[in-house]
């Protein structure tokens, strides 16, 4: 993929403002701050996917560079089906009489396929072979049992006892800024980073309010364009959405 290095963006901005190399580190600092901040909201190459092993006490250790969850999924054929996050799982360790970590007792056992079929795909025994719901729900409330939560104190994922997968696939956000290789970004981000640098430089140099506000407006406009480019929707996606909305109706 075509990328643009932060080094080049900083040099471009220096050229824009007619400044020599002596301003490089200040500008690079602003550029790195901007990239770090953008990466929390946009995929700047900082969305990672890893497979984590589930311990016998129903936890998985988060990667060291983990910032936040995108999703935790179980493998189902060629697809990844996301597990559900519930906030009331007990984050304290449960230990046996010898102090070993053990899972909390399960509320009830669950059949793996049934859980996926019913709670994650909404189908299974309540549908016929053509995918039509056949009734007989009798007010049954959905009760997901393959759930997780995040234990931020111990940097672990906590799973419900009934989650019987031995591996989960974690997709997570990390920082886009590297301290061991030169940073590169999508060309879409070039302008927004450049404008951010100019805005912050104007602020740091004690420019007049008018000059700073102009720089700020430039940055906000560039960010709008960037956001639109990063979240573009093409014809194929629209068609796909319409097709997904066309399906069989309930038989009443």
């Amino acid at each position: 993929m075509k990328t643009k290095s932060l080094d080049v963006i900083v040099r471009d901005t220096l050229l824009d403002n007619g400044l020599p190399l002596h301003y490089y580190t200040r500008y690079l600092h602003h550029g790195l701050r901007c990239l770090d901040e953008l990466s929390l909201d946009f995929d700047m190459g900082n969305i990672k996917t890893v497979v984590l092993s589930v311990t016998d006490y129903r936890r998985a250790i988060l990667p060291a560079d983990f910032i936040d969850i995108v999703d935790v999924s179980g493998k189902h054929g060629e697809r990844l089906l996301p597990l559900e996050r519930v906030r009331n799982l007990n984050k304290l360790y449960n230990r046996d009489s010898e102090g070993n970590k053990i899972p909390y007792p399960a509320e009830q056992s669950v059949n793996y396929d049934a859980e996926f079929n019913y709670n994650l795909i909404s189908g299974g025994a309540t549908m016929n072979s053509r995918g039509e719901l056949i009734g007989r729900f009798y007010g049954r409330q959905r009760n997901p049992l393959m759930t997780y939560d995040i234990d931020t104190i111990n940097s672990e994922l906590v799973f419900s006892n009934t989650m019987d997968l031995i591996e989960v696939t974690l997709t997570y956000i990390t920082s886009a800024v590297s301290r061991s290789t030169a940073n590169v970004v999508t060309p879409y981000a070039t302008d927004v980073i450049s404008k951010y640098i100019t805005m912050m430089a104007a602020k740091a140099e004690g420019s007049t309010l008018g000059k700073y506000q102009l720089a700020q407006q430039d940055y906000q406009n560039a960010k709008r364009v960037f956001r639109a480019r990063m979240n573009s929707m093409d014809f194929a996606e629209m068609i796909s959405l319409i097709r997904n909305g066309i399906h069989g109706a309930l038989k009443n």
């Binding site: 290095s5 932060l6 080094d7 007619g18 400044l19 020599p20 190399l21 002596h22 301003y23 490089y24 580190t25 200040r26 690079l28 600092h29 790195l32 701050r33 770090d36 800024v177 590297s178 301290r179 061991s180 290789t181 030169a182 940073n183």
Partner: protein, 210 residues
């Protein structure tokens, strides 16, 4: 313009100032040459400061003097340094040191780092400098952020330093000075003002006596 021509002109002007009718070489040219050297650096700094004030970051390129400096390793601190051959002008962002590059990498200069930032950015994302090597100034020494004498960092034993200064010691009395023509009259006026400060001309003395 050479130092000698400038000095002689100042000498003549000064002599006429003392006694318009009988010019003489009453003041030693060696003294005037020292004044010229001092004045040139003063005028140079004023020139640069005025351009900065006008919002332009620019330096008079004809005053950039190129030196070659030997690199010494400071292995204990994983860095290297050079000793500046002369002290450059004190300008914002250390712009008196215009550029430093390896002898074989003139178009790929090292990154200047403001001395006050060096200790602050340790541990921050900026410290990596996108894989580049930077330098910062401490007194007469310029330190590089890596030991550039090592093979991994280019095995650099000497660097080319471009300094904004008027190191007139390297120019003989009859060598052409690297100054812009518009500076010459400013230098003459400045030196004359300095050496005639507090004095009165013979003509004035005579008129007062009458």
């Amino acid at each position: 313009m050479t130092k000698k021509i400038l000095a002689e002109q100042i000498q003549r002007l000064y002599a006429r100032f003392i006694d318009k009718e009988n010019p003489s070489d009453i003041i030693d040219t060696r003294e005037i040459i020292l004044f010229i050297e001092q004045s040139l650096n003063k005028v140079l700094k004023l020139q640069v400061a005025e351009s900065f004030k006008a919002g332009m970051i620019d330096v008079p390129k004809c005053n950039l003097i190129e030196y070659t400096a030997a690199v010494t390793a400071d292995s204990g601190n994983n860095r290297a340094y050079i000793t500046l051959p002369v002290i450059p002008l004190t300008l914002p962002m250390n712009m008196g040191i215009w550029s430093i590059a390896a002898a074989t990498g003139a178009m790929n200069p090292y990154i200047p780092i403001p001395a006050q930032d060096v200790l602050v950015f340790q541990g921050a994302n900026l410290s990596y400098l996108e894989g580049r090597i930077g330098y910062y100034v401490q007194g007469r020494r310029v330190y590089f952020t890596k030991n550039i004498t090592l093979t991994a960092n280019g095995t650099v034993t000497s660097v080319i330093v471009n300094l904004l200064t008027m190191d007139l010691s390297q120019f003989g009395d009859n060598d052409l000075l690297p100054i812009s023509p518009e500076v010459e009259s400013t230098i003459i006026a400045d030196v004359l003002e300095t050496i005639s400060n507090g004095r009165v001309s013979q003509a004035e003395v005579a008129s007062k006596q009458q």
